[in-house]
């Protein structure tokens, strides 16, 4: 299991957030900013997984909906909705990417001891989209494998629609 950002005592600093009813965690080191929702500009013809862009500090960045990668229903933005802007490699290039989040919690530590690999079968999600699972206070937190999710453009639902 790859815990690349683990510190000496085997802990990983993460930002936790909700997508629908599920809690996810991202390595804090990736996060550039947590924004209130911004005006979105839809990109006709783009995959539903990443069908909009936003203005982030003068740059135009893609807005990714991880819910689609995990088969979760989309929903309209609420007062708790946020956009988590991360910097992550895409096709080898460091790229600023905005992630939709229904609710953002906190920056916290996950201990290596509290994590386990995702089971190959029996899980409702693609196991290759999950880096590992963490247990905390009885809840399961999903640490997604962003490399895999981005490379496959969120999976089957991420196919590009040709307009003409």
């Amino acid at each position: 299991m790859d815990m690349s950002e683990t510190s000496q005592d085997g802990a990983m600093e993460v930002l936790t957030f909700d997508l629908r009813d599920e809690t996810f965690a991202l390595e804090a080191i990736l996060v550039r900013e947590v924004m209130d929702c911004a005006t979105e500009t839809s990109v006709p013809g783009a995959a539903p997984f990443v069908n909009a862009v936003i203005n982030f500090r003068g740059r135009v960045i893609p807005l990714v909906d991880l819910r689609l990668a995990f088969g979760l229903e989309r929903a309209d933005n609420t007062i708790d909705s946020r956009i988590v802007v991360i910097e992550h490699p895409l096709d080898g290039e460091p790229t600023l990417i905005g992630l939709r989040a229904d609710k953002v919690h906190e920056v916290t530590s996950i201990l290596r001891a509290d994590t386990e690999d995702a089971p190959r079968v029996g899980l409702r999600w693609r196991s290759d989209f999950i880096r590992c699972l963490a247990r905390r206070k009885g809840d399961v937190i999903v640490v997604p494998d962003l490399d895999q999710i981005f490379a496959t453009r969120g999976g089957a639902s991420g196919a590009v629609v040709h307009l003409s």
């Binding site: 839809s42 013809g45 783009a46 862009v53 740059r59 895409l90 290039e93 453009r153």
Partner: protein, 649 residues
């Protein structure tokens, strides 16, 4: 002395010299007897050696010295410039370059290169020295006198006369008319004049060179003696207009002016400047918004002024960054030379449209893709000479590199007259790769586009030159990252052409802002031909037809709200923006035209690189995002739509 690093200055100079030498050598392959080329190459080697020695690049100087010596023999007519000799010196170029840049350049490599060179020279000597052309002799009558203070300031007449004698046979006569009588004579003043009759093969400029230090202050007349002119003993004229002296000064001044006009600027500084200008454009856009909603006329006036200035600044920046593509094309001549040698094929390389200009960064990024495409054409496109002869073609294959501007784009083409694309093989490979179902009908264009798929290669033999075809998809991606497009056309047995379309500017464009539904889009202004209203009747009438009549011409049109699936009701008064790629047109139907807008282009991320409808995005004055429409793609879509409807009858 200035503070800049002398080694760096030398390196830059060495680069220029090596390029000059290389070009000269390549030209010599075509014109081996051309004396000017030989001189140019020799001078380059000579200067490189000298400057190298002066700045401590001893290994380079020593190595170059041998090349220079070899070339001196060519220059003197002792040996001919055989292709082997030219190749040997070309091969030595890379070693020289490595030495100049301080990279690894092992002695053994250098020695081997020099050994080759020596062999080539010996062989060339055996081949017999070329006929030295009999020099043309001209006889000049030169009359000159020096200013009175010439001697005091160190000018010596005797060395001048000696120099003239070196040019050829001289008859010298001193003219003493102006020498005052002894009582009045000041021995340090010069009152002598001379008349020299010189017969030489050198041009008049060689004579003027002799007097270069004093030409501004002296009287100098040079006459060409024709057989009719009787050589008399004239007196020296009084000082009047001296066209010769004036002519000498003018070119010198012109040259000085030209030399002072150019400046080396690191490319990064230009990029920084470009970024600042880009930010200025955005800020000015915001100012415009504020001013528009303000009642203050002064604010409006200032805003307009700033808009004008920002526009001019941007236009100047655009021009500063534009360089002719010839700079890129020049590099490829060496490539073709090496390719011809490595493949054993005869290749004729020509270029067109070298003066076409492109943004400097775009040119840099085009280099690798073009190298790959040229390699491909030479390796896979062109057949070997025997095969060409067998099919009735000339044995020498042609590869042409062309560039031309069209609308808001530059089109770069690589054309070969080789065997063309084997459709059957491409089809088979595509079916094998699962890109198309067996028996499915696809257009020829679509078939050819498969060539740009990753891992696709129909090459029978994978050669070390062009590899496994991993290149074509990378080439396509590189071009798309420049917001351009790539297309291949081909006629079996006749040849192929790859056309790259690159938008003219990388960073800032003039755009037409339009609204479709609730979203705003930008149409590059250079592509816009005109805007017309679509009356409700026309709108209804053209339902199901998708073309409108514009001054008796049928123009296909695309309703953007349908294309973008806005899902909203049609508005009453639609507008049509007619855009073109220079060849084809399409009308884009929008809800509202919002006006001109100067915008800084932001590239879309990798997630949206394959959405062909848009070539980028921009941030508007109010912070909102507008996507920039890719006109080439929309025009093509319009053409396709048109063709389908015609086919449907």
């Amino acid at each position: 002395m200035s503070g800049s690093d002398p080694a760096e200055i030398f390196r830059q100079e060495a680069q220029d010299l090596l390029e000059q030498i290389e070009q000269g050598l390549l030209d010599m392959s075509n014109r081996p007897g051309d004396r000017e080329l030989v001189d140019s190459v020799f001078r380059g080697l000579h200067t490189l050696k000298g400057s190298g020695a002066m700045f401590g690049f001893d290994a380079l100087a020593a190595f170059t010295h041998h090349c220079e010596t070899a070339f001196d023999r060519v220059r003197k007519g002792e040996v001919a410039a055989t292709p082997a000799l030219v190749s040997a010196v070309l091969a030595a170029q890379d070693h020289m370059r490595a030495l100049a840049e301080g990279r690894e350049a092992p002695q053994s490599v250098g020695d081997a290169l020099l050994a080759d060179l020596r062999l080539a020279v010996e062989a060339a000597g055996d081949a017999g020295a070329p006929e030295a052309p009999t020099p043309e002799l001209t006889t000049f009558i030169i009359r000159f006198s020096l200013p009175a203070d010439a001697l005091v300031n160190g000018t010596r007449p005797l060395p001048l006369l000696d120099e003239l004698r070196e040019l050829g046979e001289c008859a010298v006569r001193a003219i003493t008319d102006q020498v005052p009588l002894l009582e009045a004579l000041n021995p340090v003043e010069c009152h002598l004049a001379w008349e020299v009759v010189l017969t030489t093969s050198q041009p008049k400029s060689a004579i003027e060179d002799v007097f270069i230090f004093v030409i501004d202050d002296m009287k100098l007349e040079i006459e060409v003696q024709t057989p009719d002119v009787v050589a008399s003993s004239p007196s020296i004229d009084q000082p009047q207009a001296h066209p010769l002296a004036a002519n000498e000064a003018a070119p010198a001044e012109a040259k000085a002016a030209r030399a002072g006009d150019t400046l080396r600027v690191p490319a990064e500084r230009l990029d920084e400047l470009m970024d600042r200008v880009g930010e200025l454009v955005i800020a000015q856009s915001r100012l415009e918004q504020v001013a528009a909603s303000s009642a203050d006329p002064h604010l409006r006036a200032v805003s307009e002024e700033i808009e004008r200035l920002a526009g001019e600044l941007r236009d100047t920046m655009m021009v500063v960054r534009m360089v002719p593509i010839s700079q890129l094309f020049g590099r490829f001549r060496r490539l073709i030379h090496d390719l011809a040698r490595d493949t054993g094929k005869l290749i004729d390389f020509s270029t067109e449209g070298e003066t076409t200009e492109l943004d400097k960064t775009v040119i840099e990024r085009l280099a690798d893709p073009l190298v790959h495409l040229i390699r491909n054409a030479a390796d896979h496109g062109l057949e070997p000479s025997e095969a060409r002869l067998a099919s009735g073609k000339a044995p020498t294959g042609k590869i042409t590199l062309g560039a031309r501007q069209s609308g808001a784009e530059v089109i770069v083409t690589i054309t070969d007259d080789g065997r063309g694309v084997d459709r059957a093989r491409v089809r088979a490979k595509a079916e094998e790769a699962g890109l198309v179902a067996a028996g499915a009908t696809i257009s020829d264009d679509e078939l050819l586009q498969f060539i740009f798929h990753p891992g696709f290669s129909t090459a029978q033999a994978v050669t070390s030159l062009s590899g496994r075809g991993v290149g074509m998809d990378v080439v396509k991606r590189t071009i798309e990252n420049l917001r351009g497009s790539i297309k291949m056309t081909s006629r079996p047995g006749e040849g192929s052409q790859i056309a790259l379309r690159i938008p003219l500017t990388l960073a800032i464009i003039d755009g037409l802002l339009v609204r479709v539904g609730e979203a705003r889009y930008v149409i590059p202004l250079p592509a816009v031909e005109e805007c017309v209203e679509l009356s409700p009747e026309q709108d209804l009438r053209s339902t199901g037809r998708s073309f409108i009549t514009l001054r008796d011409q049928l123009v296909p049109f695309i309703r953007l709200r349908e294309l973008f699936a806005t899902g909203q009701a049609r508005e009453a008064h639609q507008k049509v923006v007619v855009v073109s790629t220079g060849e084809d047109r399409v009308g884009l139907v929008v809800d509202q035209i919002l006006g001109d807008h100067q915008t800084v282009i932001k590239a879309l991320s990798g997630f949206h690189a394959d959405v062909e409808t848009f070539s980028g995005a921009t941030i508007l004055g109010d912070g909102g995002v507008a996507l920039i429409l890719d006109i080439a793609h929309l025009v093509a879509a319009g053409q396709r739509q048109d063709a389908q409807l015609r086919a449907a009858g």
